[in-house]
């Protein structure tokens, strides 16, 4: 019996705080039906809790704890802000499609599209001087005519024989 009381004594606090396992609870309850000392000790603990609970509850009802809320609000204000990467990631995670990393090929496609279209969009139309083909022409023995055909995409430099050349065979 004494051994059993010492065993229950170790478990009684846990039983009182509802922390005992089912097996322990059955063991304690079975013992309490037979042991008046342990029953009395349990009653004492329950009486002590009841006597403490009442004034504490009365005090809590009167108190509004404004300082607690101030402290919580201050903590929220001073709380660490997420970095832009964390914000972006959390934003992306909101969409199930993006969570599947569909955005990787989408970004690659966008980059390709920009690279392909940018040179076309920003292409400078050539001026007349930029389009002209012959920059200079010089001939000591011939008269020269230059003809630039835009339609046929052909430029002709034609050499007309001078008076001294006409007599000599080419």
């Amino acid at each position: 019996m004494k051994n059993s009381c010492s065993s229950v004594s170790r478990l009684l606090d846990r039983y009182f705080d509802h922390e005992a396992t089912k097996k322990e609870r059955i063991f304690v309850e079975r013992h309490l039906t037979r042991c008046s000392d342990c029953q009395e000790r349990l009653n004492l603990m329950e009486g002590l809790r009841a006597s403490l609970r009442k004034p504490v509850e009365e005090a809590l009802e009167k108190e509004t704890f404004p300082w607690v809320w101030e402290k919580i609000e201050r903590e929220i204000r001073l709380g660490k802000r997420p970095s832009w990467r964390e914000s972006l990631r959390s934003w992306l995670d909101m969409t199930p499609l993006l969570r599947r990393k569909v955005w990787i090929p989408a970004v690659v496609t966008a980059v390709i599209f920009i690279l392909v279209t940018a040179p076309i969009l920003f292409k400078k139309s050539p001026s007349y001087l930029e389009r002209s083909v012959v920059e200079y022409v010089e001939s000591q023995t011939y008269n020269v005519m230059v003809y630039e055909s835009e339609k046929a995409k052909v430029t002709v430099i034609w050499l007309f024989e001078g008076p001294d050349e006409e007599s000599s065979p080419s």
């Binding site: 990787i104 083909v133 920059e135 022409v137 001939s139 055909s149 995409k153 052909v154």
Partner: protein, 147 residues
């Protein structure tokens, strides 16, 4: 996965930032043509320029004498001889930018300059130099390039 995408993007950027012009070597084509009014034959290998030639000149016959591809590098002249070495056509690539090759063409006959010119050869465009007489017709030098 990320590494592959990064390499792919880098490759695309490289292609767009360093186009083919920057390779500093272009392939041009020089064709020496004899045009005359004797007969009405058109050399089959001149089909691509026959329309242009027909719209510009009134010759009835075009015969290809020389067809020479010229791999031009900057400031390295390439010479082509015609008419058994009597005529020399020297072509030099001076520069290249945005699909335009700047060429200096020098034509000499028996060592004597008959033409000095500097032209901008656009891709897909042809430059014809003609006029010197050759037998019953004239000789035409056709320069073209695609790059």
């Amino acid at each position: 996965m990320k590494k592959t995408i990064s390499l792919f993007i880098l490759l695309l950027i490289t292609i767009f930032l360093f186009p083919l012009e920057s390779l500093a070597q272009i392939q041009t084509r020089l064709r020496v043509i004899r045009a005359s009014n004797v007969g009405s034959s058109i050399d089959p290998s001149l089909r691509d320029v026959h329309k242009e030639l027909g719209s510009l000149f009134s010759f009835t016959s075009y015969r290809l004498l020389i067809d020479e591809p010229l791999n031009l590098s900057p400031n390295r002249p390439i010479s082509v001889s015609a008419r058994e070495g009597r005529i020399m056509i020297e072509t030099t690539l001076l520069g290249m930018s945005k699909g335009v090759a700047e060429l200096r063409i020098r034509v000499t006959r028996e060592g004597k300059d008959i033409l000095n010119t500097q032209v901008r050869l656009f891709s897909g465009r042809t430059v014809l130099i003609g006029g010197p007489k050759l037998r019953e017709g004239v000789i035409i030098y056709a320069f073209s390039a695609r790059f």
